[in-house]
């Protein structure tokens, strides 16, 4: 079985093989090291002229890649830890995401910035965060987050084919998750909602990023919708199975892979049936992604929404110590506990 890491690595190989305009830029990318999390493994050997290992210059690098994208190439930037994305925030927000619109649609910026987020590895306050919420809602910036369903590599390849900037959020623990086969998901009914799987590169308002809905096969109607992305979607899937078998609480899980801009429709379709929504994220609670999910569901359903909650990390820095970190970040047990309180 393929891991998410293998799928992403394979996708980069495929994308670079297919298009000589694809470049990979980042820190410590050269083999045998192949990047801090090994997503770049083998690429500098296969494409020595197109893997540019760089000095520690996140702002300079993302800006430089924007310039390359403006002038006919398709750069992919690896930011070693998602926490370092703040160093390139100006380049993403005031440059890459702005150019097309501000220049009256006369230019395109086919740039992908990939970065691993997330904790549970004891890296402490500045190497464990999920900072994507700070970039969500930036006009002109698509934010994607693969999960361990479907084809994470395909999502990356489509992002590379796109003509506008994409922030591609990976999760450190998701890397080692194996992509389950149909047999692994035998207890579950998986629906893939793919708004436009055949989207041509550069299609503006369309998305190629799928959403997934999981239900317990043959179960009574669900009374709660879980919404998650990235690694939290993996944990929510575990929670959903346990809730069904151990507590006889039946839920549906909606997984989004496009965080911004996004349509709430797949979530609404589920909550219209269940009446309840629990938004689950690894980032800190306040002003987060879950708040946006709940707000949009509430606005659409009004009094038909029976209950809504968010589950997220504590509004605190992430501690290095294992037990403290475990208390800070939401896990499967926390999802089960939150779900039980809602039904």
């Amino acid at each position: 079985m393929t891991t998410v890491l293998e799928s992403l690595n394979h996708a980069l190989h495929t994308a670079m093989q297919a298009d000589p305009g694809v470049y990979l830029l980042g820190e410590d990318l050269l083999d045998p090291y192949g990047g801090a999390f090994k997503v770049a493994r083998g690429l500098s050997t296969a494409f020595p002229d197109r893997v540019l290992t760089s000095p520690i210059s996140e702002a300079g690098l993302v800006g430089l890649a924007s310039g390359m994208a403006l002038r006919g190439l398709r750069p992919v930037v690896e930011i070693m830890f998602g926490d370092f994305l703040t160093l390139s925030a100006d380049q993403l927000i005031n440059h890459a995401a702005k150019f097309r619109w501000m220049y009256n649609d006369r230019v395109r910026v086919p740039l992908v910035v990939r970065t691993p987020m997330g904790g549970r590895r004891g890296y402490g306050p500045t190497h464990s965060q999920s900072l994507e919420k700070h970039f969500l809602g930036t006009p002109g910036l698509r934010v994607l987050a693969p999960c361990d369903l479907g084809d994470p590599g395909l999502l990356l390849r489509q992002a590379i084919l796109e003509d506008d900037p994409v922030l591609f959020i990976e999760n450190k623990l998701l890397y080692l998750c194996r992509i389950p086969s149909g047999k692994d998901l035998a207890d579950l009914e998986l629906t893939t909602l793919n708004p436009d799987s055949a989207a041509a590169p550069g299609l503006d308002a369309q998305t190629y990023a799928p959403a997934y809905t999981l239900r317990m096969r043959g179960a009574p109607p669900a009374r709660l919708t879980l919404v998650a992305y990235g690694y939290m979607a993996h944990l929510a899937r575990q929670a959903m199975v346990q809730l069904a078998y151990e507590n006889e609480i039946f839920t549906e899980l909606v997984i989004l892979t496009q965080l911004a801009p996004f349509t709430i429709q797949p979530v609404l379709d589920s909550v219209q049936q269940t009446g309840r929504v629990l938004a689950i994220e690894e980032g800190s609670l306040s002003m987060g992604w879950g708040a946006e999910i709940v707000a949009r569901v509430a606005a659409a359903l009004g009094p038909r929404l029976l209950a809504s909650q968010r589950l997220a990390a504590l509004d605190s820095a992430i501690p290095a110590s294992g037990p403290l970190e475990a208390e800070t970040l939401p896990d499967t047990a926390a999802i089960i506990q939150a779900a039980k309180k809602m039904v």
């Binding site: 924007s66 190439l73 005031n94 501000m102």
Partner: protein, 307 residues
């Protein structure tokens, strides 16, 4: 816009066009015809004209908040620039960008100090990697020297052989902050520390700026590696509008000693210079009036926002 040194009137015309444009902007701002703010180039005209006289069609220009002079010297249309400042649909960017955010042909500008330098470096690198031999002209100011992104760019441009000409226009004041309380150490050493050869010139004379810029442009074009040109210059006007904290005497002294138009006018006969000023004045006035009459744009959907 390539200009030959053989023709002093062509330089004079280019200098006058920028001056006349900027004076029209300042004169009409209080009337409420423009949106937002503006940063005029009065006093610095010889830099844009002398440097961009070497700009060839495949070359790229990345400018900053004070970009009108660069845009006009590049060959940009004064009518489209007025219209952009007025937020009209006929503006350079259809009114979306305003004074600081222009894009036309291979000309780009953005209003974030230092942020443009890595982008310009990446453009230069991309062009070189695709087998082209351009020069990317990147205009920065003394104020930009405080931004870290600049130094990351210099390092990357030098390491990866990006054909950039960094043009540092030191007008000795960043908004209201003079260089002596904002810039420590040596300006040229900032570039040479990264292995980027730098040349300095303290002049407002287009005929001094032009040959030095030409030498550096040729070096960038031939070697496809970066160079820096430091032009010590004088900004006669305020940073934007009515925010000049310098003494009137100091500004008058600059205008008397360092006016690039006066310096170049001396090389053109009186009759010719009067005619050029009159033609430019009519051209700019017509551009302004045409822009005034143009329609405002209507908002349309922002790509990607509807999903």
């Amino acid at each position: 816009m390539t200009i030959s040194v053989q023709d002093p009137s062509a330089f004079y015309r280019a200098l006058c066009r920028i001056r006349s444009f900027e004076e029209t902007v300042l004169e009409n701002f209080p009337k409420g015809v423009f949106f937002g703010t503006t940063h005029t180039y009065i006093g610095q005209e010889a830099n844009a004209v002398g440097v961009l006289a070497h700009c060839q069609p495949q070359d790229i220009v990345f400018s900053n908040h004070r970009c009108h002079g660069h845009f006009l010297a590049y060959g940009g249309d004064p009518h489209a620039l007025f219209a952009e400042l007025m937020g009209k649909s006929t503006g350079v960017c259809g009114g979306r960008g305003g004074s600081q955010h222009l894009q036309w042909k291979n000309f780009y500008s953005n209003g974030i100090q230092g942020g443009i330098t890595p982008v310009a470096t990446g453009m230069a690198l991309a062009e070189r990697l695709q087998g082209h031999s351009p020069v990317v002209f990147t205009f920065i100011g003394d104020g930009t020297l405080g931004e870290g992104a600049l130094y990351e760019s210099l390092n990357l441009a030098s390491l990866w052989h990006a054909p950039v000409l960094f043009v540092l226009e030191n007008n000795r004041i960043a908004q209201t902050t003079p260089v002596d309380i904002a810039v420590a150490g040596n300006m040229a050493a900032r570039f040479s520390a990264f292995g980027i050869p730098a040349q300095e010139l303290d002049s407002s004379d287009v005929l001094e700026i032009y040959p030095l810029a030409g030498k550096l442009v040729d070096e960038v074009r031939e070697t496809q590696t970066p160079r820096a040109l430091i032009l010590h210059t004088c900004r006669f006007g305020p940073h934007s509008k009515g925010d000049d904290t310098r003494s009137e005497e100091a500004i008058e002294r600059m205008k008397t000693q360092r006016d690039p138009l006066h310096l170049q006018a001396a090389r053109v006969n009186d009759e010719q210079s009067i005619q050029i000023r009159s033609e430019i004045s009519a051209e700019i006035a017509a551009a302004f009036q045409a822009a005034l009459a143009d329609p405002f744009p209507v908002i349309h959907a922002v790509a990607g926002s509807s999903i």
